[in-house]
């Protein structure tokens, strides 16, 4: 409403003024250009000066009225841009909130995605007993033992068999490994990320080439400090999401470190 009201009174004289020009569109176009240069408010009054003389032709008003609409158009555009930005922000917020865990994972600096770079290393025929040679250290997927290592936020204080941990990762767990010589305070910091969180487990790992290495099925992140915020980011983003068997549990399975890194053959049904 506020847009059309001021435009109303200005419009009439303008049309009249162009009416005295010959029917052609050229002069009118010139008038329009002047109006545009002068700005929305001035163009109206300038053209009004010539108003009230003679009858108008039907064609010319087309262009003149165009010239005089700059005010409303500017308002339209302003309101449109405002509305579009509000709607755009809503759409952006919705999109951002629905960012997939894969995208969130890809945003973690330094993460390696073996699902993309080396999917072959993650394939296997069936469960396998005994020791298994892994391409990466610590392993990030591939063949594994029949029994998984319990991953209900378990903090193991001694090394565990990779053959079980890889099975846990297949179930969607994040396996945090750390260099055995890390100070106890650092180990406790790491444990505070893992402890009590389902689909997470941690254990020391001999020969690790970084202070801390986090693994999920097909993903790995190595960091040099237990304080690195990416540790928690990796754990919360990938736990459970990285499962390739959705709905599978982390309960039961092996829960001791009694056999060290030697896999434990066919555990009893309850995982003992």
């Amino acid at each position: 409403m506020s847009i059309s009201t001021p435009g109303g009174p200005e419009r009439r004289p303008t049309v009249v003024s162009t009416g005295k020009k010959p029917a052609a569109g050229r002069p009118a176009a010139g008038a329009k250009a002047t109006g545009a240069k002068a700005g929305p408010s001035k163009s109206g009054s300038a053209q009004r000066a010539g108003g009230g003389k003679g009858p108008r032709k039907p064609i010319t008003p087309v262009k003149v009225s165009q010239g005089r609409s700059w005010g409303p158009i500017a308002l339209f555009v302003a309101v449109g841009v405002l509305a579009a930005s509000i709607i755009g922000f809503g759409a952006w917020a919705t999109f951002k909130g629905s960012q997939s865990w894969e995208d969130k994972a890809a945003d973690i600096a330094g993460i390696v995605n073996y699902r993309e770079t080396d999917p072959e290393s993650l394939t296997y025929e069936s469960h396998q007993s005994g020791k298994i040679e892994y391409k990466y250290s610590p392993p990030v997927g591939g063949a594994h033992n029949n029994a998984w290592q319990r991953c209900l936020g378990d903090v193991y204080d001694a090394p565990i068999a990779s053959e079980h941990a890889v099975h846990s990762m297949e179930h969607g767990s994040v396996w945090l490994t750390y260099r055995p010589d890390l100070p106890a305070a650092d180990v406790e910091k790491l444990a505070s990320v893992i402890r009590g969180n389902d689909f997470m487990l941690m254990s020391p790992y001999e020969g690790l080439d970084a202070a801390v290495s986090l693994q999920a099925w097909g993903y790995q992140l190595k960091v040099d400090s237990a304080d690195d915020p990416r540790i928690k980011e990796f754990a919360t983003t990938l736990a459970q999401n990285a499962s390739i068997e959705p709905g599978v549990p982390c309960s039961s399975g092996n829960y001791t470190t009694g056999t060290g890194t030697e896999p434990r053959e066919l555990a009893p049904p309850t995982g003992g």
Partner: protein, 217 residues
Amino acid sequence: MSSAIQEAPPAERNGTELRRPSRTLRYLTLVMAAVLLLGVGWTAATLVADRAPGDESAEAGFARDMSRHHAQAVEMAMIAYAKGQDPAIRQMGYDMALTQQAQIGHMQRWLQEWELLPTGSRPAMEWMPDAVPVGQDGLMPGMATREEITRLHEAQGAEVDQLFVKLMINHHLGGVHMADGLLKVSDRAEVVRMAQAMKQTQQKEINELRRMAPAGG
């Protein structure tokens, strides 16, 4: 916009009709304003009114924490199912393990629908109205310690039944307490329905467990 304005003038025939463009503009403005208002309103409605529970909501906290609480119950119930001496204990173990594992699936599905991660960024149980502190061991109320679970794994015969009854009564008490906490603060239909069902089921099971082992309960 400019094309719409160009269309208007050909309707003019005389002086009085010269106002038409302004009227058309007025209508156009009205229509545009209505469309924009609709757009803005729709956006606002999508953002606010129909919003799914957020990352720190009680509903999300409940879904995450109850999933974890359930996961331990599933482990205990599976031991009871596999090694319980009393057939009624084995039957109960089967029932609890399957029910609670399925409920974990429901709760995880909610988190997916709400576009939240399965793991929260806040401490467990922080969402509870009475702010239950979680111990250094990360265990929520009612949960068994690692040592207790290990003892249950290694128990034999009647000891399995006794230990299971004792641990599961505690576990269910914690579960009922958490469901109560959600019911106090949430009006989200599917979550409330689930919490009510859990509360009722677990209360009945507590009664049953107590009957099974009057000495141990």
